[in-house]
Assembly symmetry: C2
């Protein structure tokens, strides 16, 4: 049995998130991948993702793995799979990995990017890929606040209420705010993320950028561990799972 | 009677071009704008565009004008109109202009940008906004060739066969090739453009960038005035009407 790892990008606009929803016909990334793999390998394949993405959230570097008896060589996999997949999911790389590799359990670092379209005018081109903030954001203030998220903290205050998770401690390696033309991006790398964590961190940073909060408030919000004290959860379409890293640089 | 000028952006993916097609129900930018203006002004309004864009072609700075008795002040127009328009058309500016202003006849300069996604991998995010070229392009060669288009030339060799136009002479003020990450853009400013002209110029520049043609061939292609000697017409989704300029800086 082979264990095959894929790196893929998808436009999540028309999907009900990554994870297959049992007993429904809702279109998901996992379900669509499994359908395409069934066509290609003539097997029932179960796809394991590095993590879920919500409805409307995108990915540049999602990683999945699956077990298969297929004899298709890895270098031919992307082209073969892309010919079966719809055009909003694109497989970039495929490789054979050791039996024990697990896309979710073995992930050691993940990077998400949130994109804000910060211009007086809406742009029709960014409506599915960014959140529109019409009032100018103070990037310097946001950068100062973003640095306060770096380090190991209990992120209970930056997690959606409906979660089964027990351990809220996560380490954020970097949290950077950048501006290029009307686009403001918040790029966060950490060892893991709680449900809605990046979207709540971004909502809070936007409030800092609008002058509604001070950068110095962040440590207090982390210490308080109260969801209602942090900023709003910004909408999904600005979020993109940027990359996933594994041990041994896989 | 007021004469109102609008500047708008649109994602042309789901439209059969700018121009209304009589006796059909095909969705067009002009038809959709006229429908929205009818709702807003309770009048039958005829929209005049600076020029047509083909099916799948986008605009950042399309300019239109229309005559109306509406009493809505110009500063309130964008918001009012955007609330009626679908999200893939966004009005950025509105202003009252002199009676004699005509969006098409008075345009003195137009800029188009063609976007190429130049990476081994396809990107799901650029599938409606760029043309995918998987082989690396030589930007320096393309830039040298692009400069050969600058000046006043007979562009008959760079015009689709099916055209009613008699005068093929156009002046190109600038033609620039730029690269940023996987995106290669060709930005062309001229006093006017023939049918498919930018898409044929781009197709020719891509062949130069792939080493299939030499930059020095461009003057000969212009002089030959034979469509079949120039490069392929690249697909519409990479093209965007970037801006339109008028006399008196309007």
């Amino acid at each position: 049995m082979r264990n095959i790892k894929l790196v893929l990008a998808y436009d999540g606009t028309n999907y009900h998130g990554f994870q297959k929803q049992n007993n429904t016909r809702l279109k998901t990334i996992q379900g669509t991948l499994e359908d395409a793999l069934r066509v290609l390998t003539k097997e029932e394949v179960k796809v394991i993702g590095s993590g879920r993405t919500d409805a409307g959230v995108h990915a540049q570097g999602q990683v999945v793995n699956f077990l298969s008896h297929t004899t298709i060589p890895p270098e031919r996999f992307p082209l073969a799979l892309n010919s079966v997949l719809p055009s909003d999911i694109v497989v970039w790389e495929a490789e054979d990995v050791p039996q024990e590799f697990h896309a979710r359990f073995d992930a050691v670092k993940k990077t998400y990017r949130y994109t804000i379209y910060n211009d007086r005018h809406l742009s029709p081109f960014w409506r599915y890929f960014a959140y529109h903030v019409p009032v100018p954001l103070d990037i310097e203030r946001m950068s100062v606040a973003a640095r306060e998220f770096q380090g190991t903290h209990d992120f209970r205050g930056f997690c959606a209420k409906d979660t089964a998770v027990k351990d809220f401690v996560r380490t954020i390696y970097t949290c950077q705010v950048e501006k290029e033309g009307p686009l403001v991006t918040i790029t966060v790398t950490g060892d893991g993320f709680l449900y809605n964590m990046v979207r709540i961190m971004t909502g809070t940073l936007i409030e800092v950028g609008l002058g509604k909060r001070r950068p110095e408030e962040i440590p207090g919000l982390l210490a308080a561990k109260e969801r209602k004290l942090a900023g709003a959860t910004v909408p999904p379409q600005g979020l993109c799972l940027w990359s996933v890293e594994y041990k041994n640089g896989n």
